[in-house]
Amino acid sequence: MENIREILFFLFAFVMMGASFGVILHKNPVKSALFLVVFFVSLASLYGVLGAEFLAVLQVLVYVGAIMVLFLFVIMLIAVRDENFENIGANKGKTMVVFLLVLAFTMQFAALASVLSSDDKINTKTEYSKTIDSAQNLTIEGNAEVLSFHLFEKYILPFELISIVLLIGVIGAVVIAKKNRRRLE
């Protein structure tokens, strides 16, 4: 039980890797989107493992509950067909360039990770997620409260700005997606 968090970390890490490969490799966009859902759910779990429990819930609520539903809605709405992968094989030169570039990118930034030794560990300590009868009183620790103090005191301006951005986003989406009266062609 000592290193259960580490085990969980690796579990979710591998699920996420697999899911993200699923996203970029699957022909069918609906399946891709579903892999992305898996990716998000395990990312949320990973947040939980790292102790950011409020964000974990938020991740599920926002990404899985809203954004991905929207994605799937759009995919279904415009009835996207399967993608044809044959062209990728045909254009080998470009594909190779892409792979090499991404590899170079990864290697470059991997240098960053080496700066930190493996002794630097993340503090995952939070007192939350306990069954009610083992906590003798009703006090339950979570990081939601601390987070809210941060949000509404230190970051109140960004918070308000974000709300405006969201509003603009909503209006913009409506304006863009609104159908022109005359059908094209």
């Binding site: 968090r5 970390f9 926002v62 996207v80 990770a113 630097d120 960004p158």
Partner: protein, 104 residues
């Protein structure tokens, strides 16, 4: 549960890999929606890094950043998908290589 457990470098490597996978998706796929989804992968890998460092330094600002990124991502998804719909309405396709309006 005794506090510090997961080395921060693990998370960095994980996020790097995820980011690169997302990037690969962006560069190789042709379906706009899938590219969009790959961008989301990249975005979320960075979020993960934020969370990890936030816990590492015991400073909640990192988590705040994630919070804001999520909000922005929601707006971005709404706008992006609206764009996809109007693109599809205009070109009847979501294949990015077939949409070459920039060229002319």
């Amino acid at each position: 549960m005794n506090g510090a457990e997961i080395p921060v470098s693990y998370v960095i490597v994980l996020t790097l890999l995820l980011f690169s996978i997302g990037m690969l998706g962006v560069l190789t796929r042709k379906n706009i929606i899938v590219i969009f989804m790959s961008v989301e992968i990249m975005l979320n890998s960075v979020n993960l890094l934020f969370v990890a460092f936030s816990r590492f330094w015991n400073d909640l600002s990192g988590e705040m950043a994630v919070f804001f990124v999520m909000a922005i991502a929601a707006a971005e998804a709404a706008i992006g998908l609206a764009l996809v719909i109007s693109l599809h309405r205009k070109f009847h396709t979501v294949d990015i290589t077939e949409i070459k309006e920039l060229k002319n």
